[in-house]
């Protein structure tokens, strides 16, 4: 079977013009023409020699950092902007959803917006009419159908927008980060709908920063970096190598060791299960923190405390350990703290490390060090991602139901 999409050596060049204003002004053009000089331009390749193939029915996730070229690639695939080099052969109709509710107008009613938006997305009028009831049903805003959109809450607008998009039936569907919005229940509905779409044999290209969703929806993924494809393969593998590459300088190293201190923390490193330094963990991954410190004396009643702060800098939990006979004064001490998998919920965290005498004094302490993030790798809470804050920690609770 021929691939449904062949991307061959796609490159996209942008010219960065060093102008004060955002757009070209005619005056500048004319002045420069008179001076026989061009505007100062700098070429910037947003994509370089990108090639890949997509088989019919394949769903492929595109991941990468901001500015890696994901959106540019989608824009080229959806014909919004032409590539500078290379070509794409498509063997099916492409519908792209770079945004939900494109063309929604606040003055039009819900009904009118469904028709206009649907038509923009490439649906025929008859198609919209036949699916109209389903769309309205899916969106759950039937009461407000004949109200101008400007009186809708933003959540309702979104539901309506997504409902229209959900009933698109192209052979290739391109989706850019649009699921990152909407309330939890509705998002679950959309995810379900998208899974249906991919199961019905349609091809999906999906861009998201929510890696949990990518792994849930896509079998394969490709990783873009600086406009190049770095890796194509099974989604989990690509996501793994992406998160590993993400680990930047999040290691704490104390270079100015204070000789007068009795205890001093020399370095702190977050490690993954393979003992590699990282700043990105899956929610179901073991988090290990390595602390190296030196002690001049072994004072009585001294504890090592390690705490995790949430993104607001509040302590979530602490681990405290009496050092007593566990340390040496000759060499440096290396301590490993393991945080069990499925403890921290997806989000950003940092550590607090202190060597102290409980309630009396602190010998050395470092706060807000080693920032790291936890991403959702398919937890039960993935549906709430970015919608609703369900807490900083997972707790294994027990349920019991009775009929009384």
């Amino acid at each position: 079977m021929k691939p449904i999409l062949e991307v061959q050596h796609i490159g996209k060049k942008f010219r960065i013009q060093h102008l004060a204003g955002g757009y070209l002004s005619l005056r500048e053009r004319m002045v420069n023409a008179l001076k026989f000089q061009d505007n100062e331009v700098e070429d910037f390749w947003a994509l370089k020699d990108v090639s890949f193939e997509v088989q019919p029915g394949e769903s492929i996730g595109i991941i990468g950092r901001n500015g890696a070229g994901k959106s540019t690639l989608l824009k080229i695939l959806s014909k919004i902007t032409p590539p500078t080099t290379g070509r794409i052969i498509s063997r099916g109709r492409i519908a792209s959803l770079l945004e939900v509710g494109t063309g929604f107008h606040p003055e039009l009613t819900g009904r009118e917006n469904i028709f206009f938006n649907g038509s923009l997305l490439g649906m025929k009028r008859k198609e919209i009419e036949s699916k109209f009831d389903e769309i309205v049903d899916f969106s759950g805003v039937e009461k407000f159908l004949d109200t101008p959109l400007k009186h809708f809450s933003s959540g309702m607008q979104l539901r309506l927008a997504f409902a229209v998009a959900a009933f698109l039936e192209p052979e290739i569907l391109i989706i850019d980060e649009v699921l990152a919005v909407g309330d939890a229940e509705f998002q679950k509905k959309c995810l379900g709908k998208m899974e249906d779409v991919s199961k019905s044999g349609r091809t999906i290209l999906f861009v998201s920063h929510q890696l949990g969703m990518v792994s849930q929806l896509c079998k394969n993924a490709l990783l873009l970096e600086g406009g190049n494809i770095v890796q194509i393969g099974r989604a989990e593998e690509v996501i793994n190598s992406y998160t590993r590459s993400y680990s930047s300088n999040n290691v704490f190293v104390n270079e100015l060791t204070d000789q007068n201190k009795v205890y001093s923390i020399n370095s702190v490193k977050p490690l993954n299960a393979r003992m590699e330094i990282t700043s990105n963990f899956a929610h179901n991954e073991l988090i290990t923190l390595e602390v190296i410190f030196s002690a001049k004396q072994n004072l009585l009643n001294t504890n090592l405390l390690i705490a995790v702060n949430n993104k607001n800098g509040q302590r979530i939990f602490s681990a405290d350990k009496a050092l007593n006979d566990l340390i040496t004064v000759q060499n440096q001490n290396r301590v490993l703290l393991r945080i069990p998998s499925e403890t921290l919920t997806p989000g950003s965290y940092s550590f607090f490390v202190a060597i102290h005498c409980p309630n009396t004094m602190s010998y050395d302490s470092k706060d807000l060090i080693c920032p790291f993030t936890v991403f959702d790798n398919g937890s039960a809470f993935v549906q709430y991602e970015n919608k609703w804050f369900y807490g900083d920690v997972f707790v294994k609770c027990e349920w019991e139901f009775f009929s009384i």
Binding site: L24, S25, S78, P82, I89, S96, T102, L108
Partner: protein, 275 residues
């Protein structure tokens, strides 16, 4: 897959007109026009009546100042009929040109997010003006009846023809300015001025016979709207316009159409990058 489609996306090659594609997207012409008409008259008490009231007030003002006060000749028509017939077709041009020129910029958000043949946008803007024309046309019939103005039966042929000439003129200039406007926002300021100048250079409120300089007459005939206005009045006045002037005006209209569409097609691929 029902219909195996295969196509390629490439860096901009030489492409001329994709009739097939436009035809596939034909419904979008309707939807854009329909949307713009709806939006235009949403939350107005008088609604579509505005399409009639605007030219009516303009006619009253011009009749008072030019017809009564300045006594401008109006061929063999009552001045209100003369001026309204001109305004009717002129307004379609000026409204169409203004909204077509700004249409690409106004729809930039859509252009950046979704693909469709871009020409649909300025064309729909002109179709909105055509709708307003048809509204005002009802009033025009009323005025004709009121003044008991005899109309030649040729109007069945001539009026649609004149409308076509006006639309060609609007589309040519409109598409050109729309494309230029995306790249150089300077044109946003040029357009109202351009429309104003063209208004006085087109025999809307005065007949071309008033001018005493032949060179000036030739110059005015170069306006693509000259032919549309003169043709539109022909069934009323029965005065056949000078064929040389007509040819000049029609040629300039066609020229603008070709240049405008060509420029539009050549630059449309990059609208999303510039908008």
């Amino acid at each position: 897959m029902i219909e195996p489609i295969e196509y390629s996306i490439e860096s901009t090659g030489r492409k001329w007109f994709e009739w097939k594609e436009l035809w596939r997207y034909r419904e979008l012409f309707y939807f854009f026009t329909w949307r713009d008409i709806k939006i235009k008259y949403k939350q107005t008490v008088l609604g579509f009546l505005w399409a009639i009231l605007q030219p009516l007030f303009m006619m009253l003002i011009f009749t008072f100042f030019f017809g009564r006060a300045l006594n401008i000749p109006s061929q063999n028509l009552p001045y209100p009929v003369y001026v309204f017939s001109g305004l009717l077709i002129w307004n379609m041009f000026s409204a169409g040109l203004t909204s077509a020129s700004n249409s690409m910029v106004n729809n930039a958000l859509i252009i950046k997010k979704i693909y469709f043949p871009r020409l649909i946008i300025p064309v729909s803007a002109i179709l909105v003006a055509l709708f307003d024309f048809l509204m005002a046309f009802i009033l025009f019939i009323g005025i004709l009846l009121y003044y008991q103005q005899p109309v030649s039966w040729l109007f069945i042929l001539i009026w649609p023809l004149s409308l076509l000439v006006a639309m060609v003129a609007t589309l040519g200039l409109g598409a050109w300015l729309a494309a230029l406007n995306v790249k150089y926002r300077d044109f946003r300021y040029v357009i109202p001025f351009l429309v104003q100048v063209m208004f006085f250079l087109t025999p809307v409120i005065y007949p071309i016979s008033m001018l005493n300089y032949p060179v000036l007459k030739y110059l005015l005939a170069c306006s693509p709207m000259f032919a549309a206005v003169e043709l539109f009045r022909f069934p009323l006045t029965g005065l056949l316009p000078d064929p040389i002037f007509m040819a000049l005006s029609l040629t300039s209209g066609l020229l603008f159409l070709i240049v405008g569409i060509l420029y539009f097609k050549r630059t449309e691929d990059f609208f999303a990058d510039f908008a």
